[in-house]
Symmetry: C2
Subunit: 256 residues, 2 copies
Amino acid sequence: MEVTLRKKADSAASMGLPQPVLALCPNSKATINCDKCRVRALSLCDALGPSELVELDRMATTISVGAKATLFEQDQPCEWVYNITAGSVRLYKLLPDGRRQVVGFALPGDFLGLSMSEKNAFSADALTPTNACRFSRNDYSNFLDEKPHLLRRLHSMASHELSLAQDQMVILGRRTAEERVAAFLIGLRNRWTRVNGNHVHVPLPMTRQDIGDFLGLTVETVSRLMTRLAREKAIVIVPDGVRLLDVARLERLAEI
Amino acid sequence: MEVTLRKKADSAASMGLPQPVLALCPNSKATINCDKCRVRALSLCDALGPSELVELDRMATTISVGAKATLFEQDQPCEWVYNITAGSVRLYKLLPDGRRQVVGFALPGDFLGLSMSEKNAFSADALTPTNACRFSRNDYSNFLDEKPHLLRRLHSMASHELSLAQDQMVILGRRTAEERVAAFLIGLRNRWTRVNGNHVHVPLPMTRQDIGDFLGLTVETVSRLMTRLAREKAIVIVPDGVRLLDVARLERLAEI
DNA sequence: CGTTGGGTTGATCGACCTCAATAAAAGTGG
DNA sequence: CCACTTTTATTGAGGTCGATCAACCCAACG
């Protein structure tokens, strides 16, 4: 597993490492890097004042990992929490017989470590080169004890996650394959909007298999439905993503 | 909708109302009723000290509703939060075309109102005569602001819910009908254990349709699989529930 | 006693899965 | 830069699990 660590205050050129998708938390200064963090407004840290950010910054380590690197594994003790600053991460649970359920994808601004449990409830690995701010779970927990407003923010993020999980339950339990794919594309478009602004181009850093394992379908079914939506001019399949042509049609499929 | 309200401090005989499954928060004294609450140890309130309990008690109204009563509805403004003290509640989302996904069942000790959102994410109605402590969302939110340890408890409950929701995603996305039914029975057994202690008798206050809508199956499939499990001596179907005969077999089905 | 809501059972159907082959893309090492 | 492998995506043919449609039972209840 290829991982680069650097204490934020260290000055180290980024060398030949896999380039992050976004250049965040620049590592060449001894000043507060959170200042320049592009995802701060989206993430947990937005609940903090300037002096608190300094404290947080001292606790943080930025990490850069290449595609396929594992951030943490299901059932292992939870040592760290992460704030994703660039890239994309797959979150999944494995059944003993190898069946897999992807429970979510983390994008820049997403926080991994809402769970408050001793063991990781799922595994996480990078889909693309990924940057994150990492905190030891202890530091983070102590920090939380002193900052009730941060806890409130955290709780509100957890509630939001819960609500997304319930929406996913509807998708998995009661929707057809075509509706699932449409809901997935619209949902992902909405999430990218927070990071990149609203575009009809939706990057898909995950494989068809990942999408299938997220939607409770097989690769083949996902592939067939994507090509069908493309044939019917609802989308265009482009390298590493799709372009949405008939957003209204997709939204109708997703909501009804 | 048949609802009985009484300020806890009021003294009112319970009359001919649908009898609650457990007699909780007795209503005949002007003293602190939380003292005697059988579900306190299970619920949010357990995070509070004696003097805080007095405060909480003052904010609370106990409500008793009959079977089929609606506690709140999806997309309506969220006015109240509830602590279920007796009975059972169905939580569900409806699609515009009538398809339904049950996102959970609330049992005594469960808290409804983790979500922190302005609108209800789902509807809730009583499966059996149900008692609850009800708080106005405002009071509750203010109270929360003054009690960080309560917020912590709340957050930990929300995390737990999130984790259950993710388990449910695995069930809905990647398990066979038989595994779903087994997982449902084992899961419900475990939840009743917190309330009643561990018994092989598992009460099923919900209909087969409700179970189907929870598991992403039809009534017929649920019925067929329950009778199959009964024929194969894994369970016995009894009025209002099942008796588990071969717990090991069911657990194997549920976990593998 | 008719009515109603829940539960069970059977026959048939179809949406999605499985298996298989091929194509396209992305690495990898010379 | 090009052969070669590996991974990912697509497409087709056929099978299956659970859905659908329909009948019936039973208990509760006015």
